[in-house]
Structures are given as C-alpha cells and as structure tokens.
Symmetry: C2
Subunit: 337 residues, 2 copies
C-alpha cells in the first residue's frame, strides 16, 4: 500500500504516528506533508528509518499516486485542524482512502463523508471501535500461538515501541511473529486493530481476545501492545482488560528510566519495578499461567553511559533480563521466547 502521511508543522518531533509508520509500518510511504519542512527529505530528519529520499512536501498536490492518506499527527484534544481540509479533500478527490486516529471522526464530517461517498473511498476512523464487540469467552490461553504482552509501570513508557521491536527481533531470529495493536498509533502502523481504551468496559477483555483469535492462525508468536499501567489511577481498567483478555504466556515490563511517579499524577509513586512485575504476574496467573520474560527500558534523553547503567539497575530491580529496545533492539528478550 502506497501512502502519504500528513504531519503539518510537526514533523518529525511532534508527529509520533508519522514517525511510527515510517519506522515500523509495512506501508510504502511516498511523501510526508509538512508545509514547514517542504523541500527537505525524510532522511534529513530521520536518517535511520530507511526512507532517506522520501520527499517532505507542501500539500496534497505535490504527492505522487497513493492508495491512502494517513493523518500522522494528533493535536491535544484530538480535534481536526481546518488547515488540513484542502489536503484531505484533495486526497479523496484523487481516489485515496483517508486513515485517521483523531477523536474527531472524519465519517461524521458532512463534507468529507459526502465527498468520500462520491469518490467511492473509505474514511477509516481507527479510534472508533467496532459496533459488534461483546464479552470475552476466555479462550485466548487456548490459541495456537505464544502470546507476549508488554505491560508498563506507567503510560508512555515505550510499550508500543518495545512491542514493535520484539516483532522485528523475532522476525530477524526467523520466528513468525505478529503485532497486535491496541492504540491508535499502533493501529495506524499495523493497518488494523481495535482501540481498546475506547471500548465499553464490559467488552474490553473481549475486544483484545477477538484480535488474538483473528491473528492466531497467521502467526506463531503474537506480541500484544499494552496500554497504561495496572497501578495507574485513571487507566488501570484498560490495562487489566488487556491482561486478562490476552492471557499472555509471557510479560515484558516497560519502564521509563528515572521515572518514579505516575506522569500527570505526581502524588502517586510508581512501585519498585520488581514488586510491580510480581503484581502483574500474580494478577495474570490468577486467571491463566504466565511468566515474566524480562524488561524493556526507555532511556530517551540519556547518553550511552547513563543508559547502560540504567539498564543494569533495571535488570537488578527485576531479577530478569532487560533491554533498551531502541538502542539495542529486543533480540536478548526474543532469545527467551
């Protein structure tokens, strides 16, 4: 699938989805739209994603043939920025689908939805869960695939990245591994999935199970992207639903080096990672067998020496192997599959 990614005024530092798709997606990215960076190439900003010559362009008129336009940025609040409308309109008129992870549903935009009908293209609002979700049957543990789930000490600890690096390392090791996305960025990278944090709580476990059932025939290993944290004051329901819906054979605990309080909820300390890993295992095992495979540490903004020291300390805290998936890849964890 040939895609262009809209990332106006935010590429690359504030365009998490755009960068995620460039780094991990199977799509062929043929252009990035950023009016502030027009005339540069992706390689000028991100030399390590294998897209050196992909142009950054002013708008949709400068984009070569595409199957889809991806909205690769999300303003705070998840709204639709009206300055994007000409590009989205142009994409539809050229017969391209539009994929969006915004809270604002393109399908509910009168003009865009009418235009999409006229041109026979799809507006894919990945943040809207399917209408026919239902309760879990409790069958994930019986699927013919090894299930690995990334869990976290907090939000934004690198669970999606760790999951994608696990998939990549598994494939490099010759294993047939698939990625199970649970959030909008992961869904846009993978091109399918259910936004678990938008599901009705009664169906949260069931939504995860449904994805695993769908994917289990296609892969030997399924790496499930976790969300939130089981000790997060606001998001633990989502985390618990994923933990018991997925019934993982193994857990990877993701942590942001140096963080000792829940982000945005600073009066809530993060427990010692070793104790938290035990809590995750105890809670999971009360439903289906599991084990701690190891840890993944996010060392963003540390230098090489600090990062290596932090990983060592994390290994000690967990009593299990750990990697920095961005610096070192996840090969050392995949060896334990």
């Amino acid at each position: 699938m040939r895609v262009a990614i809209l990332a106006h005024e935010k590429f690359p530092d504030r365009a998490k989805t755009a960068v995620g798709v460039l780094r991990y997606g199977d799509q062929e990215v043929v252009a990035v739209l950023d009016r502030d960076q027009a005339g540069t190439t992706v390689g000028d900003h991100l030399p390590d994603v294998g897209a050196d010559d992909v142009p950054v362009v002013e708008g949709i008129d400068d984009v070569p043939d595409i199957d889809a336009l991806l909205i690769g940025i999300a303003p705070i609040g998840g709204g639709f920025d009206e300055s994007w409308r000409p590009d989205v309109r142009g994409a539809i008129e050229r017969g391209a689908d539009v994929v969006s992870g915004l809270h604002y549903f393109l399908n509910e935009d009168e003009e865009l939805s009418r235009l999409a009908d006229e041109h026979g293209v799809t507006l894919d609002d990945v943040r809207r869960p399917p209408d026919d979700l239902t309760v879990a049957e409790g069958i994930a543990r019986d699927l013919d695939a090894e299930i690995v789930l990334t869990v976290g000490t907090d939000c934004s600890t690198g669970k999606m990245t760790a999951s994608l690096e696990l998939v990549e390392a598994a494939r490099e090791a010759g294993l047939d591994a698939g990625f199970i996305p649970t959030g909008q960025t992961g869904i846009m990278i993978a091109g399918w999935g259910i936004p678990i944090d938008r599901t009705i709580s009664d169906f949260t476990n069931g939504a995860v199970e449904r994805m695993l059932v769908e994917a289990a025939d296609d892969h030997d290993y399924l790496i499930v992207e976790g969300q939130g944290s089981i000790v997060h004051p606001a998001y633990s329901a989502v985390t618990c639903g994923i933990l018991h819906g997925a019934m993982p054979d193994a857990l990877v605990l993701c942590h942001a080096a140096g963080r000792d309080r829940i982000h945005g909820y600073e009066s809530f300390p993060i427990p010692d990672p070793g104790e938290l890993a035990e809590l995750y295992v105890d809670l999971a095992e009360a439903v289906a067998p599991t084990e701690l495979l190891g840890g993944a540490l996010n060392t963003y903004r540390m230098d090489e020496v600090e990062a290596a020291t932090a990983v060592e300390a994390y290994v000690d805290a967990l009593g299990a192997p750990a990697v920095d998936p961005v610096r070192d890849g996840a090969g050392a964890l995949v060896e334990r599959f």
Copy 2:
C-alpha cells in the same frame, strides 16, 4: 417519591430489581404490576419487606397516583416486551416518569419518546452512562468520607445485597452511610448512579470517582457496590476500574458458598478466597492504602446449619470476620468500620 413497579409474569422470583427496590429502596411503592398475580398483595409473596398491603395489580389503570413507573424486570437480552407498552404509555399519559434499566433505551422508542415530550415527563434509561464522563483525577482517597467497597470472587456473589445490608447496618449503628450504585439494579434502587459496565474503559475509573465526589459531602461512610471479579476472564476490567477509581479504605470480599469455578466459565477455578483477598489488597494498595474489612457469604439455598458451617469455613479461609448478610445482617462488619 411514589412509584409503581412493572414486573409482569415474573414477580417475585424473577424480578430482582422489583424485589430490590421493595426491600432496600427509599421510594414509596404503591403498587406492583403483574398480570399473573393480580389481586394478591406484596405481603403474600414477600412478608419481610415492610410492604404487606401493597397491591399487585393487572395494569396501569389499577395503580393509584404515582410519580414514576419503574421497569422492575429484565428479560434475557434486555429487550422491551411489547406487552408492557400499554402500561408504559398509560404511565406517561398520567404524567409519571418512567425509569428503565433495559438495554433497549426508552428514549430511542419513537412513540414513547414523543409521548414523554408531550406530557413533560422524563424517560430515565439508567443503563446509559452520562455523555460527559472523563478520566479519573485520582482524588477518591482524599475525600472526606470512609470508603468501603464490596469485591467478589465471581459475578453474582451478592455484592449489591451485601452493600445495601452494610448501609442498613451502619444506619442502625447510628452512622451516616450512603450507597454508591454501579449497576442498573442498584441504580434503580438508589434513584441515581452510573452503570459502570457501560462506560468507555478510559473513563471507567473516572466514572466511579465522579459518583464518590458527588456523594462525599453528604455522608461519612460510602459503601460502593462492586461488579464482577478481578479474576473474571471477561469482566475484570470493570472490577479493576472500580477498585482504583474508588480507592477504598476497606474491602469486603463477597463469595457464593460452595462455588469453586467462575460461573459460565467453568474451566476457570476461583482461587482460594484468602489468596484472592490478598490479591485484591495488593492491587488496591499499589495505588492507595486499603485493608480487608471482612467477608460476606451468600448461602442461598442452604439450610441454617449448612449456612452457619459455611460462614465458619469462610472466616477461616479469609482470616477475617465474615457474615451472611441476608440471614444475619452486616452489623458484625460495621463494628469494624
């Protein structure tokens, strides 16, 4: 508030909501509608709910003046039985509100919704959560009220009943206690509340917190009705959201005597109640301090001797006091408040 309760062909044995409102509700029930039992009184069926002389009637025309009609039964699937329509229509035409816990929303029924508009009455679909829910702020632990949460080893272990008996026993002991309903039956009994199992998972913790914030100024003790079980393969997301949204000072573990497998998920054993209580406390304490107050045992269908033996065994398993709230009330637990 003067109410009539619709319970056609199901009163009392298959009319959980009707019986709950009669037993625990603050509403003044002036009639029960059951065409199969017309001519009897509530006392003929339920001698212990203080409603001996309340008539069971054929239909709405035999009901005295009311402020609201409550739908007190729920067919499998939660649909609206067309045979109820004349009664609901009649209630609206007499100026009464209608309160329903059905999955089928009365507000989406064209005729009833138009009729309600014409007569200036409210159709209260208690199973629909508010539209403006949001994420938890993590403030329940700071509220000026002692919070007690009933948790379960499974669904249908008597959490609502235990909660209502705790409220009643606390009031008898002179304490100012309020009930926080989280399911449709509890909501209809209490006359307010949010159906937590219908909330979007990101907002589940927040929905519970919001109810506690609303109620904390009015009471010294808040008894929160739990849902599901933290080891339930399908519903644990709901349970976890309530546990961390409520940040309870104390937990009461509810169990159905003799049950050792998750109902409807028979391949999943229920852990030893003592170990499960520890898991609940560990999971709760990783976010906010809590303790196990004791247990509540559902001994439905046991004789007196069996029930007493079962309660003793449950006390041993928990290593904490336990009561059978239906037979003995919850006074022994309230003494530990």
